[in-house]
């Protein structure tokens, strides 16, 4: 037995999931399920696309139409799904490395086009699946297996990067701030245009252990103390699929 929300939206046979004890990804996955439930969207009208990494396992766990694609290319696949099925709610779930390193260009150009996708970033500041290498969001000075003396790079702010690139909805949530993050995901899905929700997750196994941030509980306490959920932007601008549709109709002589 499991709670009704889990029974409805998660492929129960795949649980327990592979995420480590205390990993924030599980909390964010539940938030997405609750957001879809609150919006009352038909499960068969949702497509969840993921790339590669810890976060990308979500496509195997959630019971929607799901696509587990190549590293960094989730947004590109999602664009294809949306173009072919404009009525479908297309959601991308990705990690910080997936979306901002190898998938960085896909992210900014999808944001620039303002195509109606919702991107949920499970941002744990590190590459968890491959052993704790630093990612584009690892804070400066922090330790990783590939930065044993401290990371010298400055981190990306994924939500602000997307706003700069043209996203029309952007918010920052966290694994700790469940209610706010669920609300942001809900707003992002309901939003017509490119929406990004950058969610702070926690990786007690690599990021926490390397940087002596404590275990699962201590990392959640840090989010509680240091993080404020925030909606950065919500505005309406021409959406790409609709604009493309106008062009097609014009080419057919206005029919």
């Amino acid at each position: 037995m499991a709670s009704p929300i889990i029974k409805k939206y998660i492929r129960e046979g795949t649980l327990p999931h592979i995420w480590c004890g205390g990993c924030g990804h599980g909390i964010i996955m539940r938030n997405l399920a609750v957001a879809i439930e609150n919006l009352g969207i038909d499960r068969d009208k949702v497509c969840l696309v993921s790339g590669i990494g810890c976060s990308s396992r979500i496509a195997g766990y959630m019971d929607f139409n799901t696509l587990h694609t190549t590293h960094g290319r989730a947004v590109a696949f999602a664009t294809g799904v949306k173009v072919a099925n404009p009525d479908m709610t297309v959601i991308v779930a990705a990690g910080d490395g997936d979306i901002s390193a190898i998938g960085g260009n896909h992210l900014i150009h999808a944001a620039r086009r303002n195509i109606d996708l919702t991107v949920i970033v499970m941002n744990n500041d590190i590459y968890g699946m491959t052993g704790g290498q630093f990612s584009p969001t690892t804070p400066m000075g922090d330790l990783a297996t590939t930065a044993p003396y401290g990371n010298v790079d400055r981190p990306f702010d994924i939500a602000k990067l997307s706003v700069g690139a043209g996203a029309t909805y952007a918010a920052k949530g966290s694994a700790y701030h469940v209610k706010d993050t669920t609300k942001f995901i809900q707003e992002g899905i309901a939003h017509k245009g490119f929406a990004i929700i950058d969610c702070v997750s926690s990786c007690p196994t690599y990021y926490g252990r390397k940087n002596k941030k404590g275990g699962a509980v201590e990392m959640m306490e840090l989010q509680k103390k240091n993080f404020v959920p925030e909606r950065l932007l919500e505005r309406l601008e021409p959406e790409w699929i609709e604009e493309y549709d106008k062009t097609i109709r014009a080419m057919k002589g206005g029919k």
């Binding site: 499991a2 998660i10 327990p16 995420w19 004890g21 909390i27 539940r30 275990g215 959640m220």
Partner: protein, 63 residues
């Protein structure tokens, strides 16, 4: 239907997030699994359920 706190032990990874954020100290970790130690104190606030990364604890019944 009255409310009930349920733990699905085989999904629990013993991260103790539920124990830490329970306002009524209903839970504890025993043998690396979350365990109910003081059920009478439970106010069914669901704070454990919404933050359990493994969906191993939830409130059944009621609305």
């Amino acid at each position: 239907m009255s409310k009930k706190l349920i733990i699905k032990e085989d999904w629990c990874k013993g991260c103790a997030i539920c124990v830490a954020f329970c306002p009524k100290k209903v839970l504890d970790i025993k043998k690396e699994k979350a365990t109910i130690v003081n059920e009478e104190a439970c106010i069914y606030c669901s704070l454990c359920e919404i933050r359990c990364p493994d969906y191993a604890i939830y409130i059944e019944g009621g609305k």
